[in-house]
């Protein structure tokens, strides 16, 4: 079997006495878009956080490109998140004091890319985001859908290997949500980025190559549709 870009093997995670993950397993292949579905409280967001190295599991292994992600220290995981992973969340991820262009350039600046190059690269994303002419606006001057497309640009600008999207359309109307999902899937396919998409929305999950369901802290065995 080839090396998965990202893999969780029997991971557990509890918050106090409450188990959130109870031996979850999942594989994400290179270039694959996988939707993680499940009821509220099933553990799907915890699974995303463990896979992304935001916090380590209590037991089990998380492998990124064959390397044990869960055994890295905080600093190393933070560096990896900055260089190899991108994130799109439902709310509140843009810096409101900055313009849309500043927000997209931010990951490049934090990674040490020269300021001029960072802004040039960030600016090339605006036509792809369908935000031509809006790069100078502060994020509060954008609609919810526009702001979320800026967030996708910020997540993708540094060419991540894996994009983590947690309910990326959760606060948007149907049409804005579709534009955000079209953007995520089209740019991920174009860049060869794998996507782990956490959603409770079946229409959003239908953008994925396959979906898995998390129930009671476990990834349910997939049923193959006939």
């Amino acid at each position: 079997m080839s090396i998965a870009v990202l893999e969780a093997d029997e991971i557990t995670k509890s918050f106090g006495a409450t188990p959130a993950l109870r031996g979850a397993r999942i594989r994400l292949e290179r270039g694959e878009v996988v939707a993680v579905m499940g009821p509220s409280g099933s553990g799907k967001s915890t699974l995303l956080h463990c896979l992304a190295g935001i916090f380590p599991p209590d037991s089990g292994a998380v492998r990124y490109d064959g390397r044990r992600l869960d055994q890295l220290g905080d600093t190393e995981r933070t560096r990896l998140r900055r260089t190899d992973f991108g994130f799109v969340f439902q709310f509140g991820q843009l810096v409101p004091e900055l313009t849309a262009l500043d927000n997209v350039a931010l990951p490049l600046l934090l990674a040490g890319v020269h300021r001029r190059e960072a802004y040039t690269r960030a600016a090339t994303w605006f036509p792809r985001l369908d935000l031509d002419g809006l790069s100078g606006r502060r994020t509060g001057e954008l609609s919810g859908g526009q702001a979320q497309r800026v967030a996708v640009g910020r997540a993708m600008v540094s060419g991540p290997k894996v994009l983590f999207a947690d309910e990326p359309t959760g606060s948007l109307d149907s049409l804005s949500g579709e534009k955000v999902m079209d953007l995520i899937v089209d740019t991920a396919r174009a860049e060869g980025t794998s996507v782990l998409l956490v959603t409770h929305d079946a229409r959003v999950a239908a953008y994925a190559d396959r979906e898995v369901t998390v129930r009671d802290g476990l990834v349910a065995t997939p049923v193959v549709a006939s």
């Binding site: 929305d201 369901t213 006939s226």
Partner: protein
């Protein structure tokens, strides 16, 4: 609504008389608006007998012709098994069929949650096809695909809610 297979499902736990079948069918599936007519009931039972899926016993001594008892055959059980386990083609307005499958699976202690999982997977697969159509075709095709997607999404929400309520439903309908 698949009346013949539903009747097989009602006959599997125990043999029954025609009028009992009608009463049970109407209670579980007919509601106030869709009772099963006696003509449809006996016509369907005759076809099921002709096809070897049920057998007729009686009438027992002292009982009139309406007291015939209907018994499911091995063939009938096989037909019921296949129907329950086979996901329906995902399309709008499936509720009555899916509901009947859930009720009959619970009545016979079959794995209703697994049947719902299979149906959920079939729905997701169809939604992926429709999403591809929507993203690649002209707007008129996208709008038709959207119509299908919203209906399938409603089915899925029902499937999820029903999965969460199977234990409660089992208690409610157990005889």
């Amino acid at each position: 609504m698949n009346v013949p297979t539903t009747l097989l499902g009602l006959l599997e736990p125990e043999p029954s008389h025609g009028y009992e079948l009608k009463r049970e069918y109407d209670t579980l599936f007919g509601g106030d608006t869709r009772p099963l007519s006696f003509g449809q009931l006996y016509g369907t039972l005759a076809r099921l007998e002709r096809d070897g899926q049920i057998a007729m016993h009686g009438p027992e001594q002292g009982e009139g012709p309406e007291r015939k008892r209907y018994v499911i055959t091995t063939n009938g059980v096989g037909q019921l098994e296949r129907w329950l386990a086979e996901p329906e083609r995902p399309e709008p307005m499936l509720q009555a069929t899916l509901y009947a499958k859930v009720v009959l699976a619970l009545l016979s202690n079959r794995p209703a949650a697994e049947y719902l999982d299979a149906q959920r997977a079939a729905h997701h697969a169809r939604m992926r096809e429709l999403t591809t159509l929507r993203r690649t075709g002209p707007l008129r095709q996208a709008l038709l695909a959207d119509y299908g997607l919203f209906h399938l999404e409603a089915d899925l929400r029902w499937i999820d809610l029903t999965t969460a309520r199977l234990d409660q439903l089992r208690k409610e309908i157990s005889r």
